[in-house]
């Protein structure tokens, strides 16, 4: 046991890579929520024109906002299962007790969760944008901002998932706790996504701020979520 780390080239990364593969495999199999997120995304985008009316000009203007709101809700939907499923079958205790830094474990789980739920949203965006009569340039900008911004939503959501992991009905509370922190992501995401449609509006400034938000949450959110997990489990 003591000389096991020396046998491997990357003693820290190998278990984390295994965890990443495990999370992905669980997400795409029956019982995993990977597909549900995209379906929910489609439903929200479909419902919007019924609410605001089928005016194509109005929809084209609202398009980036609609896609961002749909992505935010779809991300929130799957987040309560981020730690809960592992807690239910006892896997979380094993992962916590495995000796890996819990912060990195949370980070890997977030990345895997984003690959399973966030990335499909980004890839589906161009098709759903056609429903909203958006221009090609705006579609590209929306896709880019979603690709950069949805990881931040997952990281922020991980804090809420860590806080509510031991609660029986934590889903609604998670949304209440997490949504205020998602506001800046939404603001800069939508303003960058809509920038190509409005001529004088700059794209780079909100986009770079969005990148900064994602990087900052990448570092800070796993620390807070890991602290919440430690407090919530014992």
């Amino acid at each position: 046991m003591s000389d096991a780390p020396t046998e491997r080239a990357a003693p820290l990364l190998a278990p984390l890579a295994a965890l990443y593969r495990r999370e992905l495999r669980l997400a795409v199999r029956i019982g995993g929520g990977g597909f549900m997120g995209v379906l929910f995304f489609l439903i929200v985008v479909t419902v919007f024109p019924f609410a605001v009316g089928p005016d194509m000009n109005l929809l084209a203007r609202l398009g980036p906002a609609v896609l961002w709101i749909a992505a935010l809700l779809a991300t929130l939907l799957g987040l309560d299962r981020l730690f809960e499923a592992d807690r239910d079958d006892g896997a979380l205790d094993i992962i916590v007790g495995s000796g890996q830094p819990l912060e990195l474990v949370v980070l890997v789980k977030c990345l895997a969760h984003w690959t399973a739920t966030g990335l499909p949203l980004v890839l589906a965006t161009p098709f759903f944008a056609l429903f909203l009569a958006m221009e090609p340039l705006v579609i590209g900008a929306t896709m880019l901002t979603l690709a950069v911004g949805t990881p931040a939503l997952t990281f922020i959501g991980a804090i809420g998932a860590g806080l509510t992991v031991s609660l029986r009905r934590g889903g609604l509370l998670l949304a209440v706790l997490v949504l205020p922190f998602a506001v800046p992501v939404l603001i800069f995401g939508v303003s960058a996504a809509g920038a190509p449609a409005l001529d004088p509006a700059p794209f780079a400034t909100p986009f770079l701020l969005l990148c900064a938000l994602t990087l900052a949450t990448l570092v800070l959110a796993p620390i807070a979520a890991a602290a919440a997990l430690r407090s919530g489990l014992d």
Partner: protein, 246 residues
């Protein structure tokens, strides 16, 4: 052993402190409000542009300051919970949350009442207003978290983590008027080059701020006392239930 004794003794000593300080603080609050309200509603001159509506400021500005101050107080308490495991830190944070929510609500409502005659609208999505609304929602979310978790010690640590995460909002509120072009005016009292507000209006404002702070201190101490007593009743009830079960 010694640690456990001090931990047990602290709340009792604290309750004694509240009993002794409480009446004095109530008197101080009433006196400050009497001076502050007389100064702001009677003595202070009406604004040359805004007329009498400027008097809303004497409630609005202290309430907004206290909304942020209460969150800072909760953040310090959260550190006390997580770092020093002080038994009263969580009681302090939990007791402060409804007070902070109330001050934030007061700031939002008075701001809305002031905005209607001055800006012509009850509400506008500007950075200062939005960030204060987010603060209000965060207070409510924290209260919801405390109400959801039954075990007080676990609720204490989870709430403390969320409080510390939420402190990112405080600098955003403070500097929102500088970073963005907001309809809300920039700071006019706490500035590096001194306040830009006339002394005839400044002194009632500062007295009102002191009165609000004194009010917060009084209510906070009594709310902490109630929380300690509530926890004692809870543990007595648990002990009684355990006694009948065995």
């Amino acid at each position: 052993m010694f640690q456990r004794l001090t931990a047990l003794a602290n709340p009792t000593r604290f309750l004694g402190l509240v009993e002794r300080l409480g009446p004095w603080l109530v008197g101080l609050t009433l006196a400050l409000f009497a001076v502050g309200l007389y100064g702001s509603l009677v003595l202070a001159p009406p604004d040359y542009q805004q007329g009498e509506t400027v008097r809303i400021m004497f409630i609005h500005v202290p309430a907004a300051w206290l909304a942020m101050f209460t969150y800072a107080l909760m953040a310090v308490s959260a550190l006390g919970t997580l770092v020093w495991r002080h038994p009263l830190a969580d009681v302090s944070a939990k007791a402060a949350a409804p007070l902070g929510a109330a001050f934030t609500f007061l700031a939002l409502v008075t701001g809305s009442l002031w905005g209607k005659p001055m800006w012509g609208t009850w509400w506008i999505w500007d950075a200062r207003l939005t960030s204060v609304l987010v603060l209000f929602i965060m207070y409510l979310g924290l209260i919801a978290l405390w109400r959801t978790i039954e075990d007080p010690t676990r609720a204490a640590r989870l709430a403390a983590i969320l409080i510390l995460v939420g402190t990112v909002n405080l600098p955003i509120i403070k500097f929102s008027v500088d970073w963005w072009n907001t309809l809300h005016q920039p700071a006019s009292v706490m500035r590096l080059d001194g306040p830009t507000i006339d002394p005839s209006m400044l002194w009632p404002l500062l007295v009102m701020a002191l009165a609000f702070t004194s009010l917060l201190t009084t209510l906070h101490l009594y709310a902490m006392r109630n929380e300690i007593l509530r926890r004692r009743i809870r543990s007595l009830g648990l002990a009684a239930a355990a006694g009948t079960a065995s």
